[in-house]
């Protein structure tokens, strides 16, 4: 299959995952949509293309692991896990409800596929490093993938984890920085700039590259190259758009956390269906 065709198929998957997120937000009335939608193309590509994991055998010790260091992006992971049949889609309708298995931050004891109880920021890299260290110790082939937000990078604990990953040569660890550039209080570079992010990881001993994190072909391309360097952990700086896929919300801080109206939810769904139709048409044309 051509890379282009694969990319389009994954873009359709990502749109389906976005629809799942809209379904959850409708159930709960609100949610951290901004970071979920900036990261969801990558998360979909990981689960549908790169990762060795199966919802029916989610605790397999040889599985690849996926962690959200920025736990508030969990709508992205829930949306993908539902599309990947980790759980019944009816559970999406329990978001925000008493006893839901998909709370506002992920809980590994509630839902298969969740590997860590994140939500407090700056924890993911260290936890993932520990998993990757165990993989090395046990000579297992699994990989550990982490998504961090750019807004959480000022947490010093990230850099403790970064140092550990470099010291122990964790080339089975990949961190994707969802660099959408916005956090609650405004532009990340104004609130507390950690630029240049790539240099910081590089100086800690990581192999680093940068992609457009909402461009499926670029995502696929980088996934094929992992690890970027043998003996080093990889950091992929993903330039993304906050709330990507919501025409009315893209690049707006207000959509970090969205108190949704039914009218805009419908508009979002219509936009997604329109994009899916366009992508399917492209696929048909490629067949001919």
């Amino acid at each position: 299959m051509s890379d282009k065709r694969k990319a389009i198929e994954l873009m359709i998957k990502a749109e389906r995952c976005r629809e799942n997120v809209i379904r959850m937000i409708r159930a709960g009335g609100h949610g951290h949509v901004g970071g979920a939608f900036s990261a969801i193309d990558l998360v979909a590509a990981l689960y549908f293309h790169a990762m060795n994991i199966d919802g029916a055998d989610a605790k397999n010790p040889d599985r690849d692991r996926f962690l959200l260091s920025a736990g508030h992006k969990c709508l992205a992971q829930y949306g993908v896990l539902a599309e990947k049949d980790f759980f019944e889609k009816e559970i999406l309708d329990t978001y925000g409800k008493l006893g839901s298995l998909i709370p506002g931050h992920p809980d590994m004891h509630k839902l298969n596929g969740v590997e860590a109880n994140t939500g407090a920021l700056g924890h993911g890299i260290s936890i993932a490093a520990g998993m990757a260290m165990a993989g090395k110790l046990d000579q297992k082939a699994y990989r550990v993938f982490v998504v961090t937000g750019d807004g959480e990078l000022p947490e010093g604990s990230n850099w403790e984890g970064a140092a550990v990953a470099a010291k122990f040569g964790l080339d089975n660890l990949v961190v994707f920085v969802d660099n959408n550039g916005l956090q609650i209080s405004g532009a990340v570079t104004e609130v507390m700039s950690m630029e240049p992010i790539d240099c910081k990881f590089r100086d800690f001993g990581w192999a680093v590259t940068e992609i457009d994190g909402n461009d499926m072909e670029q995502i696929l391309n980088v996934l094929e190259q992992l690890p970027l360097e043998k003996g080093k952990p990889t950091a992929v700086i993903c330039k993304t758009v906050k709330a990507k896929g919501l025409s009315f919300g893209e690049n707006q801080t207000d959509f970090h956390f969205w108190n949704a109206s039914e009218e805009l939810l419908r508009q979002a769904e219509a936009e997604m269906e329109e994009r899916i139709a366009g992508l399917q048409k492209q696929l048909e044309e490629m067949k001919q």
Partner: protein, 311 residues
């Protein structure tokens, strides 16, 4: 042998190293704290299972939790406040909330760093750890109990915080298997109950013998497991004597004294007195034994505390 002196850190490290021989899942994390935690032998024998991370307690606790998700049993020992206070959120979320089988060990606990001041003393570790649901807290009192507690801690599946001291301590009791959650009725008495844990157990035992010579029939309970508290043992003794005094090398609030007071709060006709350190920073520094006496936590202080309580 009873009365013989041992370095608690060496006894601890030795016990972990021995357990590691038969359990390949036991791994050790160090924050520039390995040799001084008694892991010299472990480093030589199992270098692939020894992870030196440098001075970064948050990173260590996170990585230990991550590693534990794969079935490993990480042990992390360092100076007590650096194990507990510095990475508190990582303990709460990555170990506690994630229910990971990580063993945290705070050494040089209490005021054993008697001349280094408040930054290095841990008088709040019981209090901090007990507010993390699901964490077991151990405070063994003598070298043999440390060894047995290590065995029990590694055999138990779940997060544990253990506290050990620094200066050499005598063997007080015959070595016997450690049962997590079980207190020890060390002396039976009728007039007053002393409940103590860890480093103050030896002084409390000495105090009990003096009190008995003075005609005060004193019951002594050793609590090498602070959480979960042996509630039944405490309640039974309190119902018998009606007077309970807690003794610990910890703030008078938040630790064993608070746990016992809370447990007995629904009992009529029971009075509780708590002995420990005031909730304050170090007022003075100096020799450990002198400092214990200054805070009334040596055997004389305990005798006086009991006498005042019974007046």
């Amino acid at each position: 042998m009873i009365g013989e002196l041992f370095d608690p850190r060496k006894e601890f490290g030795k016990a972990v190293t021995e357990a590691a021989a038969s359990n390949p899942d036991v791994v050790v994390f160090s924050a520039d704290s390995g040799k001084s935690s008694g892991f010299g032998e472990f480093m030589k024998k199992y270098p692939e299972r020894y992870f030196e991370c440098g001075i970064m307690e948050q990173g260590v606790v996170g990585a230990a939790a991550g590693m534990a998700t794969t079935g490993k049993i990480p042990v992390f020992c360092a100076i007590a406040p650096f194990v507990t206070c510095r990475p508190y959120e990582m303990i709460r979320n990555d170990i506690g909330y994630m229910r990971q089988n990580v063993k945290l060990v705070g050494r040089n606990c209490g005021i054993t760093y008697s001349d280094l001041g408040s930054t290095h003393q841990s008088l709040d570790d019981f209090g901090l750890m007990r507010l993390i649901p699901g964490i077991t807290i151990l405070a063994p009192s003598d070298p043999g109990e440390i060894q047995e507690a290590v065995k029990a801690m590694l055999a138990y599946k779940g997060p544990v915080y253990m506290r050990i001291g620094n200066p050499k301590i005598p063997q007080i009791f015959e070595q016997e298997p450690f049962v997590i959650g079980k207190g020890k009725l060390l002396r039976e008495g009728m007039d007053v109950t002393i409940v103590t844990t860890g480093s103050t157990t030896g002084s409390a035992l000495k105090a009990v013998l003096e009190l008995e010579a003075l005609g005060v029939s004193t019951e002594l309970i050793g609590m090498p497991t602070v959480v979960p508290l042996d509630r039944e043992l405490v309640r039974r003794s309190a119902a018998k004597t009606g007077r309970v005094i807690t003794v610990e090398e910890h703030y008078v609030c938040g630790g064993l004294g608070s746990l016992v007071t809370e447990e007995l709060s629904d009992l009529a006709n029971v009075m509780v007195k708590r002995m420990g350190l005031p909730l304050d920073y170090a007022k003075t520094s100096g020799d450990y034994e002198e400092l214990l006496a200054y805070y009334q936590l040596d055997h004389n202080g305990i005798v006086n505390g009991v006498k005042e309580f019974l007046q």
